[in-house]
């Protein structure tokens, strides 16, 4: 531990050198920009700058690439809050309460709250990265297909139990989400499913394209129908008062914050963990909150939990790359390519062979997140001011930027058509009370959950008992079951108490 601390100080001092510091600033600003634009993510930002880094010292190069990543993480939630359009998969859960809060005229507050929660989540992630990396890597190794499947089940049960008004419609939503996820190639058998010979369908339905349509365009249709122009109320400002309020809210909702951080850091260890983490944190926060009716209408905890989880997971996604050599996210995959250009091979030997480099990287995580917070807070008034622009101007621009985003995800024109189609579906579903959240959750987790399930069953030779194998899968499954039935159980308990109690 003491040794780690010493190395960390060395790493931080390297990243504080004026040149590296300047590089980090540039990277952060660029990262925020790519994060804000939907469809463009850290992966794009990193990819274009890799050629530039070839001429740099490896440590400066990695600081630049990592800073873009931190910036993009911060930027992702901005459009979720302002326009109901998630910039990244893991900011979908932020739309549930962030957008309603902004709609009420508190866009500035929502932004500040999301940035602060991000920051806290990230700090916890970086602490883990700095001091417990090898320990955590060993723990992550114990997650095989069966354990991953149990985590998926837990995510679902934390989230789905609560959303439906009409159970038929909730079920149909989930089924449709899973079906959309299944379109394309089946990893386990290599067969093409539901493509009917079409090359376009082979690519399946991308999650980001679907949410841009379902949430973003769907919301635009709802807005114009009501004849509302996105009002420019006090949302146009971000004041110091808002910041003070944000800090206060974080303290009041400390439970949601802690929940988000823990879930985030834990889930980030496995590839693709940030998105399920944000959903799971939202679900848990809602279930454990006394004010659960406020969720969905702009509850602070509904922003804090998923944001802290997403950023915590985003930070700990660096861990599997450094310690195991598997990228935790697409951006990390591109950064890994960058490492190879410097002649560094990611994997368990990186810590041993190039400690200066690894600690420089970790040091830049600390610096990057501190400066990142300042950068986004400085930008926040600018973002919030976008809401002041007249609707007839901003609306077509949003549609345009969404079209770019939908295209850029996979470089496919067909995705822009899908986006419009999903927009219409989003409008209809919203009007007819089909819940959208379970659909997108099924869409994003469907693939992962199905292949984990089938891999587990293949390994066990078809025995479903493997899904409940101790010591990891079993408790998670039990927890999932408890959480799923908790609303029913607690309802019964309340009823029983009412009967018995003085009343």
């Amino acid at each position: 531990m003491a040794e780690n601390f010493h190395s960390l100080m060395m790493g931080i001092s390297v990243s504080m050198q004026p040149y590296n510091f300047m590089i980090a600033m540039i990277g952060l600003v660029l990262g925020v920009i790519v994060g804000v634009l939907p469809g463009l993510g850290g992966a794009n930002g990193v990819a274009i700058l890799i050629p530039l880094t070839v001429a740099m010292q490896p440590i400066s190069g990695i600081i630049l690439l990592a800073s873009i990543y931190w910036g993009a993480l911060y930027g992702g939630s901005i459009t979720s809050i302002l326009f109901n359009i998630p910039g990244e998969p893991w900011s979908v859960a932020t739309t549930f309460d962030g957008y309603p809060m902004a709609k009420k005229g508190h866009a500035g507050k929502a932004l500040v709250l999301s940035f602060f929660s991000h920051f806290v989540g990230a700090v916890l992630g970086v602490i883990m990265l700095s001091f417990f990396a090898p320990l955590i890597a060993a723990f992550a190794l114990r997650f095989g297909p069966a354990e991953i499947f149990s985590v998926m089940v837990l995510t679902f049960s934390a989230f789905v139990g609560l959303s439906g008004k009409d159970p038929y419609k909730t079920l149909v939503s989930i089924f449709i989400g899973f079906i959309l996820a299944a379109v394309g190639m089946d990893i386990v058998t290599g067969q093409l499913r539901m493509t009917f010979g079409s090359i376009d369908l082979m690519g399946g339905f991308n999650f980001i394209v679907a949410v841009i349509g379902l949430f973003g365009l769907g919301e635009i249709f709802l807005t114009v129908e009501e004849g509302l122009k996105l009002e420019a109320t006090e949302g146009g400002r971000v004041t110091f008062k808002d910041m003070a309020w944000g800090v206060k809210e974080l303290i009041i909702e400390w439970k949601a914050l802690l929940l988000g951080c823990l879930i985030g850091c834990w889930m980030g260890l496995k590839p693709g963990g940030a998105t399920p983490a944000s959903f799971m944190a939202y679900g848990f926060a809602k279930q454990s909150s006394k004010k659960s009716d406020e969720f969905g209408h702009g509850a602070s905890a509904g922003i804090i939990a998923p944001e802290a989880a997403a950023h915590g997971a985003g930070t700990s996604a660096a861990l599997p790359m450094i310690t195991l050599g598997i990228p935790g996210s697409p951006t990390m995959a591109v950064i890994m390519g960058g490492l190879m250009i410097f002649g560094l091979l990611p994997g368990p030997m990186l810590f041993v062979e190039h400690p200066d480099f690894v600690w420089g990287f970790i040091g830049s995580c600390w610096i990057g997140n501190f400066i990142g917070l300042l950068v986004v807070l400085a930008f926040a008034p600018l973002f919030a001011a976008v809401l002041k622009i007249r609707f007839a101007i901003i609306m077509p621009i949003i549609v345009y930027v969404c079209a770019i985003g939908a295209y850029a995800v996979n470089n496919r024109v067909i995705d822009i058509y899908y986006m419009i189609g999903f927009g219409v579906v989003g409008y209809l579903f919203k009007k007819l009370d089909y819940p959208l959240a379970p659909l997108v959750l099924a869409l994003v987790l469907g693939d992962m959950a199905e292949s984990a399930l089938r891999q587990a069953l293949l390994i066990s030779g078809g025995s479903p008992l493997v899904l409940f194998a101790p010591p990891i899968a079993l408790p998670i499954m039990v927890a999932a079951g408890l959480i799923f039935f908790w609303p029913t159980v607690s309802g019964l308990i309340k009823k029983a108490r009412m009967k018995v109690g003085p009343g």
Binding site: T53, V54, P145, M185, L192, T195, A333, N410, N411, I459
Partner: protein
């Protein structure tokens, strides 16, 4: 409206032909990319082909081998079919290249997607990738013969993890099964890096990872290579310690994977010449040499008719192996 547009169009045509006229004075007659080159990767981000593409494109910028950047784009859907079909459809597009692995052969054979490598223009073979038989060190198996014997005694009980279904890892598994008369329980995963980690976590019993995917775990002392699946040893320091399949078990097995570059169909000869020449220069850089050594690849640059001949042979072998393993699309 229509008139104004055609006016604009003509204006643009004139403007660019003038621009072209100016640029062509300086560079003689050789063709060079005139727009950013789309560098298609028919595989997901983070895999071997993707990393190689992302390694090559900055090298091209660093050594000024192209006036326009090479932009890596992943089109991985349908085990790469999306990427292949895309390039096939871009007839005559000179600013487009695709890096391929063995899914060039296996994907159409396994899925029936209407595509064959002859639909593209072959440029060059950059390298070949080895496969090794890996087990977890704690499993206690010291040699390939020991492990094979154990598998023979318990058919279907040993789990072989691999990348994807009906692709190279499964083909090799079938090769092993048929050569030694045994039965693995083959479980497909999404990528080679994941397979290696599953093996480190002991969720599977063995893998046939490429050297680069498991190297770090080997150095770290968690995984051991039992044999190289080729007729000769890997000619690199450390790697040459691993016995070949023949040395370890007596049976000669070999499978090497293509890392090559193809162009769109119907491109002009001077375009092919440019890419062949540029890629040759890439493979001569010190960075490339280090990359090859670090990743345990076989430096095997090849282009022109020899490359085409090699492709034809490779396709025939692949088809034969897949037919034997019942992996062809029915």
């Amino acid at each position: 409206m229509g008139k104004r547009f055609s006016g604009l169009k003509i204006g643009l045509v004139v403007a660019c032909s003038m621009a072209l006229a100016f640029t062509s004075i300086g560079t003689a007659s050789a063709w060079v990319p005139d727009r950013p080159v789309e560098f298609i990767v028919p595989a997901g981000a983070g895999g071997g082909a993707d990393v190689m593409a992302r390694f090559i494109s900055p090298l091209v910028s660093k050594y000024n081998l192209s006036p326009k950047p090479w932009v890596v784009i992943n089109k991985s859907a349908g085990a790469g079919a999306e990427g292949f079909m895309y390039v096939k459809g871009q007839k005559g597009n000179a600013n487009l290249i695709i890096i391929t692995l063995d899914n060039l052969f296996t994907t159409p054979l396994a899925t029936g997607v209407p595509f064959n490598w002859k639909d593209l223009t072959p440029a060059s073979r950059l390298a070949l990738d080895y496969f090794c038989l890996w087990v977890n060190k704690e499993s206690g198996y010291k040699t390939a013969a020991e492990y094979i014997d154990a598998v023979k005694k318990a058919p279907g009980k040993f789990v072989m993890g691999g990348t994807g279904a009906k692709q190279e890892d499964q083909i090799i598994t079938v090769q092993l099964e048929q050569a030694f008369g045994l039965k693995f329980n083959y479980v497909p995963f999404k990528g080679g890096g994941t397979v290696a980690v599953e093996l480190v976590g002991k969720h599977i019993s063995s893998s046939v990872n490429n050297p680069s995917e498991a190297r770090s775990h080997w150095k770290n002392g968690t995984l051991v290579p039992l044999a190289t699946i080729d007729s000769t040893r890997i000619n690199l320091p450390d790697w040459d310690q691993i016995p070949t399949m023949k040395e370890a078990t007596g049976k000669d097995l070999s499978y090497l994977m293509l890392r090559g570059i193809f162009l769109a169909p119907g491109v002009k000869p001077e375009v092919v010449a440019y890419y062949v020449d540029t890629l040759k220069k890439v493979t001569e850089t010190p960075e490339w040499k280090k990359y090859i050594a670090d990743n345990g690849l076989k430096d095997a640059y090849l282009s022109g008719p020899e490359f085409v001949k090699w492709l034809e042979d490779k396709e025939a072998t692949t088809k034969d192996l897949m037919a034997k393993g019942h992996l062809l699309k029915k």
